[in-house]
């Protein structure tokens, strides 16, 4: 009390207190353990119990891993060498890795093509995921889908070129007419794109050479983890924009658009994905004119995309609802029109709020791609359950195969989750 007048009630501060650094936290392993692991009787029991369980798992599974075989030709050979000891038979992975990754019909001389497409995916995704990178890289991102299609499916290069050309024409028409009326630009663009594809399809057939640079691979021959990746990446990247459109449509003032979006979302959410996949596989064929072939993978992509976009739309709707009305009003009062207000003000904030939900759905979607195994497509799980477990050499190798599948999926899903947390930290702009 040196700087106060202790004897009087009235108080005037004469010297101001200098700021001092906060007290150093009392660190130390013992203190940490006492606070976090053994703070009371129940916690201590729980801690010891958990430690015991962890120890048991490690002790029991360690020999299985340590004794693992890596280069035997069959399960029988593994058993012979192990002679009753516990031990894994990882040889199935080294022997069948190509089938697990690419399916059993993809020509083995062409494995480099999906491999290359996979590596290029990182370059294409980078500017979308890390917006500090130069925007010019987005050009490659725009080319990538067509390039990847050509690499994976092979065949004539005219197919992806015409597809890309259709998008360009559609966009040009849209940009031309959009200034007069958004609807005219939108539908004109779509019509122009389809016209281009239709004409291009006929021209392409005429000029396509018999011998192509890359050997054509049939959709039926795609399989393994490649198929999961292909479906996962395509469907996530398609369902995000579609989900945004659906969410905005559901908020629309136009009753017709709103109605369509609500019915679509509610219908899709009320139907199991498996049902949609069966529809894609069998039922859709009845609706198509006889003789048309409509690629199975494309059908599956459409179904999974519709499925997840309905969920994403609902998550984004939550984000939109969480924004204060004042944000819309401020955008309006500054004279921004609807597309500008949405793109610059509303969606960036709504999407930021929705990131955890969207990632949740993306991860779920990626894992749900394994459901295609029930419509006899040989994705990673389909490969394991079908050709590999059915083979005489590897009949009975469950743990090794499914652990491997789990590991692959875990790596991807954990990566997505880590990225989303990083993104949330990046987008944090002060309190509020």
């Amino acid at each position: 009390m040196s700087d106060t007048h202790a004897q009087s009630v009235a108080f005037v501060r004469e010297t101001s207190l200098p700021p001092v650094p906060p007290p150093a936290s009392q660190a130390g392993a013992v203190k940490w353990m006492r606070e976090n692991l053994f703070s009371n009787w129940v916690n201590a029991v729980l801690t010891i119990g958990s430690l015991y369980i962890i120890a048991m798992i490690v002790v029991k599974s360690a020999p299985w891993f340590m004794n693992g075989m890596w280069d035997t030709p069959s399960l029988a050979a593994c058993r012979e060498i192990l002679q009753g000891k516990t031990g894994a038979c990882f040889s199935v992975l080294t022997e069948r890795w190509n089938q697990l990754l690419f399916g059993f019909k993809y020509p083995s001389t062409e494995y480099w093509r999906p491999g290359l497409a996979f590596l290029l995916l990182f370059i294409a995704a980078a500017p979308v995921m890390f917006f500090k990178l130069p925007r010019k890289l987005l050009i490659f991102t725009a080319i990538y889908p067509f390039l990847a299609f050509w690499l994976i499916w092979g065949g004539t290069i005219w197919t992806p070129l015409i597809a890309a050309f259709g998008f360009v024409v559609g966009y040009l028409v849209y940009a031309r007419f959009m200034k007069q009326s958004f609807a005219a630009g939108f539908f004109g663009g779509i019509a122009a794109a389809f016209l281009t594809w239709w004409l291009g399809g006929m021209v392409g057939e005429a000029i396509a050479p018999q011998e192509t640079l890359l050997e054509a691979v049939n959709s039926r021959d795609m399989g393994g983890f490649m198929l999961n990746m292909l479906l996962g990446v395509t469907c996530v990247s398609l369902s995000l924009p579609l989900g945004i459109v659906l969410a905005l449509g559901r908020q629309s003032n136009l009753p017709l658009i709103k109605g369509i979006c609500v019915v679509f979302i509610e219908f899709i959410r009320g139907v199991p994905l498996i049902t949609l996949l069966f529809v894609a596989n069998v039922v859709l064929a009845y609706f198509l004119p006889p003789g048309t072939t409509f690629d199975l993978i494309l059908r599956v992509i459409i179904m999974i995309t519709m499925f997840s976009s309905a969920y994403i739309a609902e998550v984004i709707r939550g984000g939109l609802a969480a924004l204060p009305k004042g944000q819309y009003e401020a955008a309006d009062s500054l004279g921004l029109d609807y597309p500008q207000a949405m793109r610059l003000i509303i969606l960036p904030q709504a999407l930021k709020i929705s990131i955890p939900g969207i990632v949740n759905i993306a991860v779920g979607l990626f894992k749900d791609t394994t459901l295609v195994s029930v419509i006899s497509m040989f994705d990673l799980v389909g490969m394991i359950r079908g050709p590999i477990l059915a083979s005489t050499e590897w009949n009975g190798v469950y743990w090794e195969l499914f652990l491997f599948a789990a590991l692959l999926f875990f790596i991807v899903c954990y990566g997505i989750s880590q990225y989303s947390q990083w993104l949330e930290r990046q987008l944090a702009t002060g309190h509020r």
Partner: protein, 255 residues
Amino acid sequence: MAEAQKMEVSDEIAISIRKMNKWYGSFHVLRDIDLTVNRGERIVICGPSGSGKSTLIRCINALEEHQKGTIEVDGITLSSDIKNVDKIRREVGMCFQHFNLFPHLSILENCTLAPIWVRKTPKKEAEEIAMHFLEKVKIPEQADKYPGQLSGGQQQRVAIARSLCMRPRIMLFDEPTSALDPEMIAEVLDTMIELAEEGMTMLCVTHEMGFARKVANRVIFMDQGQIVEQNEPEEFFNNPKSERTQLFLSQILGH
């Protein structure tokens, strides 16, 4: 007299509202509003909570739709035609009680956004304009921060600067100081006074009577969706005619 420092008011009409009515459902919020504002005029609107003050000024830039009567801003009639609405919003700036800054954009981006996208000003030029107005509201050093990092008073000044960057001819204020701590009110009012002295046409909903006395040409008192009384500030405060005005003034000045 306070008149001395008041800028001249031109005969040109900035806003003209005739027999305007608005309903929320069946609730008659605004009844037969008649109001003409000349260019350079500064009008303070006051009245009890729920009397329709916000609704009135929000009708002027079409944040709310009116159902009967006409509103003409800068000679442009406000109708359901979107083109007209956009035209009017470009000429009319607005400040809100809760600032409504864009939290995901920096202060500078908040200020340059509308000029770049609506007025198609080149980015460089828009940034210069923004810095000019940020200096004017005395916070150029905060340009790179985000709204969440600023105090309420600073945020409201940024909101004023953001509106000014669109070079509006009319400014609307909806209780710009009522969400602020007392010591921040003065800094926002100073900014508004400065703006008034430069001859900006202003409509302010506020209960800051000191501000009204100092800059207003006219004070309007609203109650139950109607304009009950309007007069010059001296007369209005010293000699209110209607009973409701007297009651209201005694309530807010009484303590």
